[in-house]
Amino acid sequence: MAGELPTKPEAAKSPTPKVFNCPSCGAGVLIRAQGLTVSVACRACGSVIDAANENYQVLSTAAKNLKIEPLIPLGQRGKLHGATWEVIGFMKRSDGSGAYTWSEYLLFNPLKGFRWLTEFDGHWNYVVQTKEKPGSETAVAAIGSDRSVAKALGKTYQLFHKGTAKVTFVVGEFYWRVKVDEKVDVEDYVAPPEILSCEKSKDEVVWSVGEYVAPDTVRTAFQIAKPMPVQTGVAPNQPSTISSVAPVIGKYWGTFIAIVIALQFFAMISAKNEEVYRGDFVYRVNDTEKQKVTPQFELKHGMTNVDFKLSSPVQNNWLEIEADLVNDQTGETYEFEQGVEYYSGSDSDGYWTEGSQVGHATLSAIPAGLYHLNIQATGPASNPWSTGVQPAEQGYSITVTRDVLTWGNFLWSLALLSIFPAFVWWRSRSFEQSRWSTSDFSPYWSQSEED
């Protein structure tokens, strides 16, 4: 899409189509944008003819074996972006290596002028040349450095591609002297769904802005009956639904995390930590009555959690209790188990300890009422660290505290709230990595990969 656009006043006229004979092959050549068209490529022989004067000189001839039929035929009209456009020119271009080729359709509307419709790997762009060029300082800085940006039209575009573009085939008419093998330096900057392109030749610098168009939109607009080119990969400026919502999801996530932290902070300062019972017991292997029963105690103020703290000065030993919290009014029973074990010694690395002499069990959502505990302790029949067999006797105490601070719900909430944003972030990142996989300026490349 090289070449400066003709001036607007001329474009505003409604040119009358004109036909002349191709000086190369004699076939009829139609000029639809007379007065604006500077060169026209014969559909029959591919010769590019100077249409700026009545002599119709042949500017270049096409390779005889190169005949490409545009997917959208010349002369086809279609409604796109609120206006009716006629396809008047088509060209194929390739990058410097020739590995990548793409199609460009020149669209014409007598009132609006020229636009381009480009197609690469099944991805389409509606392109408009822009007179508002990026600020010269920004543009110079952008062109001179990698991973740079260009600022134009109130947006910041990231550099995606830098290289050359060569015309490999033309047919139809153009507003500049198009030539096969014509080369320009190209820079593409992206801000999905837009792509800002700069084409530099010896004589001019042309900036244009492309907007991603869904293939179905193009097919419907130009009534394309043939199969559309198969889409492959992610286009440089292809919009992503998930990438566009990711920042909003991130904001929501931050808000919810703040709410949950505030709730946990409130729970922290409002937890009563009310001790309702404390009792001391002794575990003996030879006890005939294994079960201990505590006096009655009261849990007040509605439903709450209850913490049971088991303490025992075990040394290289263990103790475990099985307990039932029994509601004396309803008979409802809540079971729990808790153990303590503590070991210590010395080895070549010095003194070591393992385990704890204190353990906690927490029952959740216990209604208010009068309760007692049935406790049955178990422990080793003998002290395994002493010589000989001796009866084990181990003291322990149980403390019952209502309305204690717990962290489980808080951690669960953080995890559940983070699953959705993590998925969105992963999908968005995968999409962006695919987008940038064909770019030499990918922000997803690590330093080591670059080296």
Binding site: T241, I242, V245, V248, I249, Y252, W253, T255, F256, I259, V260, L263, Q264, F266, A267, G302, M303, T304, N305, V306, E332, Y334, E335, F336, E337, Q338, G339, G359, H360, A361, T362, L363, S364, A365, I366, P367, D403, T406, G408, N409, F410, W412, S413, L416, L417, F420, P421, V424
Partner: protein, 45 residues
């Protein structure tokens, strides 16, 4: 998707607030397979 997450996050926050108020533990419910405050046992070591 934004609305879905807004609803999802609101539900999580409300459940967390309710659990904090009643002393209901999500961990207990996961272990027991029963949801909501219902007077079941819990075991934390």
């Amino acid at each position: 998707m934004k609305k879905a997450f807004l609803v999802y996050g609101t539900v999580i926050s409300l459940v967390f607030a309710y659990a904090s108020y009643t002393g209901w533990s999500v961990s207990d419910s996961v272990q027991s397979g029963k949801w909501g405050p219902q007077g079941h046992s819990a075991y934390h070591k």
